[in-house]
Symmetry: C2
Subunit: 431 residues, 2 copies
């Protein structure tokens, strides 16, 4: 019954005490507070948002609601990277071996995808034999040995977040910035991070569909991270158009192309640009270089020298895969070409994401199976000047009917211009 008082505080727009938020997180984690009371609190918190101090308290309380990873024995500073997720967002798969090749130790817990936001684990699972179920000890020892390791989110870490997130998902209370901030940062804190790099996506393919919303989220993350004592670096990046190709195997293929220094079209060029930018920030954040500019140079150099690719092979092999493994391939590979000379004015990220989900390349529901073969290779970007007959998209589909449907959806997501269109910078702002 006592939790009713806590609900009342939020409902009436008053301020929580730190101990009330500890009670909330502990009760969500151990099931002592029933779902309906948590749901009522979440709606009250959506409509009467937590202030900065309350958000920091909640973040810490969620981080402390379960086990915490102890990174003792790994080189400091303990670094983690997180993206708010987007269509074609394969950043971690490319960035992790680059950073490891530069001498950083990167270990990461990641998730499966839901909705238009693909999951890093789903993509890695399209590599035959790749294991994403390392336990914390395996994760740490692999990271210590080769500098890079990835696994699924441990259920024992920040269990309050798991309970709250499941409820937010079904009660229309996901899109609250203080709740998002506490969800994201609590997991980073529980994972042992001290220095974090956050990639906040802005646009229809990301969680925050408007530039204002994404900026608010980024600012909220920066403030709360600081209050919680994290060394937080933040990039606000474009998600109005897909970040290169979209799918599972096709994104692994594209990731390896970038690591092989083979980016060859405008879609891949944007991926490479983002990777360089994020690597620059990451390397500077841990003081391996003096400036992000030096970091970008270092990243470029480990790609060009083949060190990043070699690190990727070491990583994939350590988790049971190989960079040379044959990836699952869709039987239908249809390249859509430009019917006339034109400029690309728009490729709506969300619509492309939805088209890939419709082919089975993503999940509508948590228990949907994924067809890792399907996807859409995106050869162009907003601002690309294309000549008649040049490739725009390659649709990888299970059959011709599916390819037909996807072609209509992808062309529907695209708009054209007779006049030149400005390219959009992939990184909008760095905090």
């Amino acid at each position: 019954m006592r939790f009713q008082n806590v609900i009342g505080v939020r409902r009436d727009g008053l301020r929580h005490t730190e101990s009330e938020l500890r009670e909330l997180a502990a009760g969500a984690a151990n099931g002592d507070i029933p779902d309906y009371q948590l749901a009522a609190w979440l709606m009250a918190a959506y409509l009467n948002p937590l202030d900065d101090e309350e958000t920091a308290w909640l973040t810490q309380a969620i981080a402390e609601s379960g086990e915490r990873v102890d990174l003792t024995g790994l080189p400091k500073p303990w670094f983690d990277k997180h993206s708010t997720g987007g269509v074609g967002d394969k950043t971690s798969i490319i960035l992790l071996p680059i950073l490891a090749a530069c001498g950083m130790t990167v270990l990461k817990m990641s998730g499966h995808g839901l909705g238009t936001t693909g999951g890093t684990l789903d993509k890695l699972e399209s590599i035959p034999g790749f294991r994403v179920d390392l336990d914390i000890e395996e994760l740490k020892s692999q990271a210590k040995r080769i500098g890079v390791a990835i696994t699924g989110q441990s259920p024992n870490l920040a269990p309050a977040d798991k309970a709250l997130y499941a409820l937010r998902d079904v009660t229309g209370t996901v899109a609250s910035i203080p709740l998002l901030v506490s969800s994201i940062l609590s997991k980073k804190i529980a994972g042992g991070a001290e220095t974090i790099l956050l990639d906040v996506k802005s646009g229809s393919g990301g969680f925050m569909r408007t530039a204002e919303g994404a900026l608010d989220l980024a600012a909220g993350l920066a403030r709360t991270a600081k209050t919680c004592g994290l060394d937080c670096h933040l990039a606000l990046t474009d998600m109005t158009q897909p970040l290169g190709s979209v799918g599972n195997a096709v994104e692994i293929e594209e990731s390896l192309a970038i690591l092989r220094n083979q980016a060859e079209n405008a879609g891949q060029e944007r991926v490479r640009e983002l990777i360089h930018e994020l690597a620059g920030i990451a390397l500077a954040s841990v003081h391996l270089v003096q400036t992000p500019q030096e970091g970008r140079e270092m990243a470029r150099s480990v790609i060009e020298s083949g060190k990043a690719l070699a690190k990727a092979e070491e990583w994939f092999a350590a988790q049971g895969g190989s960079i040379d493994a044959a990836l699952p391939t869709a039987p239908v590979q249809r390249t859509i070409k430009a019917s006339q000379t034109t400029y690309i004015a728009e490729i709506d990220a969300e619509s492309v994401g939805v088209a890939v989900i419709a082919m089975g390349g993503g999940r509508r529901r948590k228990d949907d199976l994924i067809d890792s073969r399907v996807g859409v290779k995106v050869h162009v970007a907003v601002g690309s000047a294309v000549k008649q007959g040049e490739p725009l998209f390659t649709i990888c589909a299970a059959d011709e009917a599916m390819a037909d449907r996807t072609e209509r959806l992808v062309l529907g997501a695209t708009s054209w211009s007779d006049a030149p269109v400005e390219k959009r910078p992939v990184v909008i702002r760095v905090f």
Copy 2:
């Protein structure tokens, strides 16, 4: 999943369609909508209140969420009376036989008490043998035969209200006027009423503690009742002080005293005044008389002639009791007398209610057992001029220690004045 959209409408302060509210009520009744989604909707509805049309839609939808009582065969207009509940509120027990003695047919579903609000059923159950579990057919046939019958709320009537109320109780969302209005009126509609008399209590012992809140609730009830096609009559009445004595057996005793025309102190005088007022409104509402004034005269006359008492005996006997049955009596009966000549400035209703609950005369939780013997007889009212040695309260307790505690609480709830204090009218306003 679809109900998330309905939650989103409320969360964003938009307007529901009628079919959304039907879906809500049906899903609450049959369990298709999980508690946590209903809880989130309730909090959103608390913070973004339903407008009048939405409230009327919700009321009808809840009324139609289960069985409905068909009063065919009983004389029209089909009348029902409801009180929002208060400390010492025994109105129905006195009013029903009076109205029946005047020629009306009154059948009522009532509830058990929770918190400081006593329950009519609990009070009637203190009469040895009295049955409050008539089924709908028994209720109707008894009302047809003798004009008066009462029973517990049928679980099949307005089941959506039962589900929503249970959640509101534990999520801090009870005190929302549109939700209160739909809860109260849906049950009246499901019960077959066409003409209703609502007694809205105002003050610390009632549900609405402030005069403004009670007035808002009364106004909301009046508007929604009208939209739903009910002929609704409404009295806003004083609940800043107890309505006479408080307890279970002691309230039956006091009810019979009023019916025997034996009201002999200022506390009972207020009960009698309220009964006359409500009877006047009720009799005029069904056109048995032209004006409430004539209705009051008629009520007075059936009391004075003994017809009302005879009807009460017929009623009690029909349900297994008797007006002459020996009521349970507390072993300790301690009368507190005025220590000096003074005026009564305040008797806080809630504090007296809490004191009676502490003796076991009411429920803190739904499954608490009730001691029907205990209570506090209130001999005075705000504005009473008392002389030294005159009785103020009689405490009916299980033992001396309990009487000591209750004496302190009841005296603590009372304040005094050397100067005359104005009496408070029992009826504040009639709509």
